[in-house]
Symmetry: D2
Subunit: 140 residues, 4 copies
C-alpha cells in the first residue's frame, strides 16, 4: 500500500564473514541504504531534512534471515513506507538476490522524529509539506 523504493547493493568482500556469507549485521545497514534512497527519491533527502533539525532515529528493528547472500552477489533492497502518524513512521523491507530472485532477508524498522536536542517533535507542526508528503506516501 505504501510507497516503495528499491536500491541495489553489491555484496563486498569486507561484508563477508568466515561462514562465507554476508554477515547478518549488514542487513540493518542495507535497510538504512534503502531508506536513504527512499527519501532522496521522494525529494526530501535525509541530509537536508537533518540540516533543518529534524532527526529520525530508529526506535525498533526486526529482521528474518531467509537465505545467505555472498560476496559479489547483487541484492535489491526494497523499502516500503508502511505507516505514518505525524510523530512516528515505519518501513518494511525485502532484500532479494538480483540474479536468483531469492529472498534473503525481510524486516521492519520503526522511527520517530526528534529535534537536535533529542525531543520528540510533531512533523506536522515542524514541516507541514513534509508531513503532507509522508501522509500521502504512507497511503493514509
Amino acid at each position: 500500500m505504501g510507497h516503495k523504493v528499491g536500491t541495489e547493493h553489491y555484496i563486498q568482500y569486507y561484508e563477508t564473514d568466515q561462514m562465507g556469507c554476508c554477515h547478518h549485521s549488514n542487513y540493518i545497514r542495507f535497510f538504512e541504504e534503502a531508506r536513504s534512497r527512499f527519501f532522496d527519491e521522494i525529494g526530501m533527502p535525509y541530509a537536508k531534512v537533518e540540516k533543518e533539525g529534524i532527526l529520525s532515529p530508529v526506535v525498533a528493528a526486526e529482521m528474518e534471515f531467509k537465505m545467505p547472500c555472498r560476496y559479489s552477489d547483487t541484492v535489491i533492497i526494497e523499502a516500503e513506507l508502511m505507516s505514518y502518524s505525524g510523530v512516528r513512521f515505519s518501513f518494511e523491507y525485502k532484500i532479494c538476490n538480483k540474479e536468483t530472485g531469492d529472498i534473503c532477508c525481510i524486516g521492519k524498522t520503526k522511527h520517530c522524529f526528534i529535534d537536535d536536542q533529542g525531543k520528540v517533535i510533531s512533523l506536522k507542526r515542524k514541516d507541514a509539506s513534509m508531513h503532507d508528503k509522508m501522509t500521502e506516501l504512507a497511503g493514509e
Copy 2:
C-alpha cells in the same frame, strides 16, 4: 530463567555516527559479542564448535533502541539463553550504560544449528554433551 552472561564493550569512535551516538547497526554486533562470551564461559567456545562442523546462524533478530549510548561510554551486554529445542535456540539481550545504569537496547535473536553444507542438524545427535549442556542452561 535461562543462563545469563555479561560482557563489557567500550563504545569506540568508529562506532559513532553524525547524530553523535553509537550507530544503531552496532547493537546486533554487540549481541554477537555477548553470545561469543556466553559460549566461551560455558566451556563451549564457538570457534571450537564451528571447527566440529556445527554452525549456528542467526535466523531472526529484533531490537528496541531505548537510549543512545555515546563514544567512550562503557556498556554492559547481557545475553540470556531463553529456549533450546535440540534444533533451535534463542537469546535475549539487555544493553545497559555501565555508569548510569540506563537501558540502551533490548533484543532477541533466534538460531538454528546447521552443518557446513547448510543443512539443519539435530545437536542432540551431533554432539550429545553440548545438547545436555544447552538443555540445562536454557532451564528446560
Copy 3:
C-alpha cells in the same frame, strides 16, 4: 600507466562518525570495492579466482586523507594496477567527490598470491592466462 578502473560509492549514514564525516576507516574498504570492480571488469572476478584456490591478501596499505566526504556524497574510487611481478602486485587509488571533483583520499595497497593453506604461490605457474593478463594490464 597501469590499467585503471573506477567505481562509484554513495556515502551512507552508517559510514559517518560524530565529526560529521565519513569515518577514515572506510577508505580502505572503498579501495577494496574498486579492486573488486577492477577484477570484475577485466573478466577475472575475484570470487571466481578465489574458488580456484588463489587468494590475494593485502600485505600493506597506505592512505592520505585530503578532504572529508560526507553523508549522501557520491565518490568515485579509481584503482590503478601499478606493478605486477608474478608473485606480487600493487594498486594505487584516488577517491574524488563526484560533484566537486575534490580529491578526498589517495592511497596504495600491496598484495601477494597465496593458496588456501596460506603459502605464497607463483601466479605464472598456477594460472598462466591470468598471469599474462596481469602482466599486460600492469603495463609491464
Copy 4:
C-alpha cells in the same frame, strides 16, 4: 622513546571475512582503539578534548599486515606517541597475538589539530597544558 599504551581486543566473529581471518580493514580501527585508550590513560580523554572544540583527524595512515589473526584471538594493540610539533603528531602501532606473541600488524598514523570549523589550530595556544603534556610524552 615516546609514551606507549596498550589495550586488548578480542577478535569478534563480525570482524572475520571469508578468508577466515580478521578482515584487514579492522586494523585501522584497532589503531583508533589504542589511541582512544592512550588519551584516556594520560588523563586527556578524547571525548572531553573534542567537547573543548579540539579535533584531531587522521591525516595519513599506513600499515603492514604480517600475520592474520582470527576469531576469538585476543590481540594487544600498542600505540606509541612518536612525534608532536604543536600542530601535528604521529603514532606508531604494533598489534600482537596475545597468546603466541606473533606480530599481526604494524602501522603509523599522522594527525593534526583542527577546530570545529575544520581550521588547523595550534594546540599550544588553544590548550597550553595539553600542549605541555604532549611535548613531554612525545619525548621531545
